[in-house]
Amino acid sequence: MSASVLSQRGGRWLPEIIVLLLLIALPFGFAAAFSSVDLLSRILLWGLFGIGFDLLFGYSGLLSFGQSAFYGTGGFITAYLLTSHVLSNVWLAIVAGVVAASLFSLVVGFLALRRVGLYFAMITLAFAQLSYFVENSPLAQWTGGENGLPGVTFPVIHLGPVYFAFSSSWRIYELIATLFFFGYVLARFIVCSPVGAVLSGIRQNANRTAALGHSVPGYKLSAFVLAAAYAGLAGALLGIFQNYMPPDAFSLDTSAQLVLQSVIGGVGTLLGPAIGAAVWLFLRSELQQIPGIGALWMFILGAIFVLLVTLLRKGLYGALIGLWRPAAERRSPQRAPPLQVARPRPAAPPIPRSAGSAAAAALEARAVSKGYGGIRAVTEVSLAVPAGEIYAVIGPNGAGKSTFLRLLSGEETPDAGRILLSGHDITGHGVTAVNRAGIAKSYQINQLFTDLTARQNLRIAALGRARGTLRLDVFRRADGIAAVEQSIAGLIDELGLADSADLPVATLAYGEKRRIELGLALATQPSVLLLDEPLAGLAPGERQEIIRLIRRLAEGRTIVLVEHDMDAVFALAARIMVMHEGGPLAEGTPAEIRRNPQVRRAYLGGVAAHVDA
């Protein structure tokens, strides 16, 4: 967020320019203060390592405690190739190290990313330990075991008459600073690209991101491999920088130091890890010389860390930006009115995809069933909705309506039965593929990306439609795809969100969030829209507004609606199915349902008391 604030104020390239100037100016300060630029080189090495980690944790929300595995792999592959004289070209050896780290991460990521949260952190940690012990003993004859590999050579540039050796402290600094800069620029591209938008979606709500047609496993693995490539590069440079590759690059302490530094400096900022590294290395070298408290430098770091984790998620970087940003900007912009009548759009509604054969229903379910353990949530429910129809599913709480909708949306796979979209079988394809096929769902409980603005929320949804499930278009800007921006603008207009489109969703009123929830589903341009209690929690005025909106959306779209508001259901739906205890109780036109004695007994008789529940 801070980075985007910077770019809005001072042009797109301001962060890059500032970093470049710092990289040029800082070494003179360090050389004067510490009589060597080595400390700064070391900070940048950790910073480079940290940029990758930040893309993984800060942007994608994946906390790995095993980055040392890739740092060590990159370092030792490069060091081995050079010290054993398999390769004499240092550049090639560095590339080999980065490639090796990336390939290793592909394997680890494939296994570790099957789990989330705690499990993911523990599995990555265990893999790092595995690599540490493998390096230490079975591979000792190549890696030097506990001794590491001394004598890693420095790279040279040799082009005809030009000969340039990166042999001294200053030359090595120039090498590391250059690679850090390019690493930073690349990361900035990624963060600002559609890939970055999807990754931030995954961090905030992975399930919703998947439901919007993005391949969450694919993007996670990409982020993981990318982070490993950064780690591998930093590891390769470490051996060159120190002229020696230490085995503790693989150790748990390395991963732990990376996590500590990044959180202290601030995650989700790209530069935070470098700031954290500066604090770490500075405290270690300076605090240690103070008698009495010198031995406590790590304790103090630990305390700072706990404090920052508890109170300040953007770390020191966030605190610095907070100070620097003028107070006026921090003031939250004017609140939008909670409800506003949407202007009817003169433009035609979005054209649905795949009209399908005329005979096939737009959406069809054939005797689908779903049970959890011994409980049967949905039993042999069928429906066939013709294109352009609004079809409502009603029934008392616990009747299985929401589960049925989850089966239709592909979030869950039925135990039996089939689901067809325009005659094509989509059973068991998963929520991402089902969304791509043209079904989108708006949830009973808002599933939004709360740190982002309404526009950014809708963008994540629209990007899936425009780019496919997985695409690594990192050199494109997320907000630079004209078709996407146009459809978002149209949606914002249609949903009456014009005044609040650029405010963080967390600050909006419930009614606005509800409309964004609906908008997320719409932005994927579905031919079939599933609405799970779209009116839940809304005030009467807002309900009328949404009902009008749903009617408008039905032009050219098929809608399946689950709702407790009977007035709305009977006003909107062409056909209604009543569910009771997991099974279908009755199906028919509103008039038929109203007359049905079974329905009256099981449900509608008592509905008066629940209408406003």
Binding site: L63, V116, A121, F127, Q129, L252, M298, F299, T310
Partner: protein, 292 residues
């Protein structure tokens, strides 16, 4: 080819180590099962127990007193940390919980380093554990390591009784199944969380006391144990008490027996097995489906 005596002796070492690992891991798994988060400071708590043993045994030579001191230290630490910090993290994402306990772990380790230095401290086994036993004329074995199995078993049994045969255990296990429901039933969940956190921490501390005479006591000694406990709970199933015990013994034997056949792969072997379990059965051997 190793002799039968060598093999048996290693198998025995694995059993002793595994029983301690089971005790540490059961603490980790109880905390996870109830509170829903992994305590990264668990290894540091184990280390605190070992230092408590070092201090007490240096002055009194009473092992019982050392056990009591270890339990008392961990009780105090657990109450202070849970009330002072950790309870504010129950509602936060798992990553935050991991980070904050990791930070606490750094503080505990570095705090101990400040007071005791980085040098390794030796703790002698209690008088009744001094000596060696001859096993069926096959091999000699330090007496204390035989007794360790018994002591760890007693504590595991105590944990079992506490969890499965008391009303507290009933609510804790109910809390593992459905935290919200237990709260709705009018049970003080906050008090239960505090007790569970303390019990888990004490399990780690007691294991530290028992382990102290077998090793060099240093501030960093908890880290390998923590990582191995992670492996144990991933293999056994996070949140499963039985899984922690079986997993602990499996990992202990793996570490020990592989040293007979392929010493350089000993440490790596447990991670290889963990990977295998993750691929074949992601929820672990005894983990309930659908958790995590």
């Amino acid at each position: 080819m190793p002799t039968a005596a060598q093999f048996l002796s290693q198998a025995f070492s694995g059993f002793a180590f595994g029983s301690l690992l089971a005790l540490v891991s059961s603490g980790l798994t109880i905390i996870f099962g109830t509170l829903g988060f992994v305590n990264f400071a668990h290894g540091a708590m184990f280390m605190l127990g070992a230092y408590a043993a070092f201090v007490v045994l240096a002055h009194t030579h009473s092992f019982i007193l050392a056990l009591l001191a270890g339990a008392a230290v961990l009780l105090v630490v657990a109450v202070v940390l849970e009330r002072g910090l950790i309870r504010f993290f129950y509602a936060r994402p798992p990553e935050d919980q991991l980070l904050v306990t990791f930070g606490l772990s750094v503080m505990l380790v570095e705090g101990m380093r400040f007071f005791f230095g980085s040098d390794s401290q030796r703790v002698s086994p209690p008088a009744w554990g001094d000596g060696i036993v001859n096993f069926f004329g096959l091999f000699y074995y330090p007496l204390y390591r035989v007794e360790v199995i018994g002591i760890a078993a007693v504590f595991l049994l105590a944990l079992y009784v506490l969890l499965y045969h008391t009303s507290l255990g009933l609510t804790v296990r109910a809390g593992i199944e459905d935290r919200l429901m237990v709260g709705l039933l009018g049970i003080d969940v906050r008090r239960m969380f505090l007790i569970v956190f303390a019990v888990g921490a004490i399990a780690a501390g007691v294991a530290g006391v028992i382990y102290a005479p077998m090793t060099a006591v240093i501030p960093d000694m908890g880290t390998p144990f923590l990582v191995e406990a992670f492996v144990v709970v991933v293999i056994g199933g996070l949140g499963s008490f039985g899984g922690a015990i079986v997993g602990g013994l499996v990992v202990g034997e793996l570490l020990s027996l592989t040293t007979v056949f392929a010493p350089s792969y000993s440490q790596a072997s447990i991670y290889a097995v963990m990977t295998l379990v993750l691929v074949m059965r992601p929820r672990g051997l005894f983990g309930a489906p659908g958790r995590v």
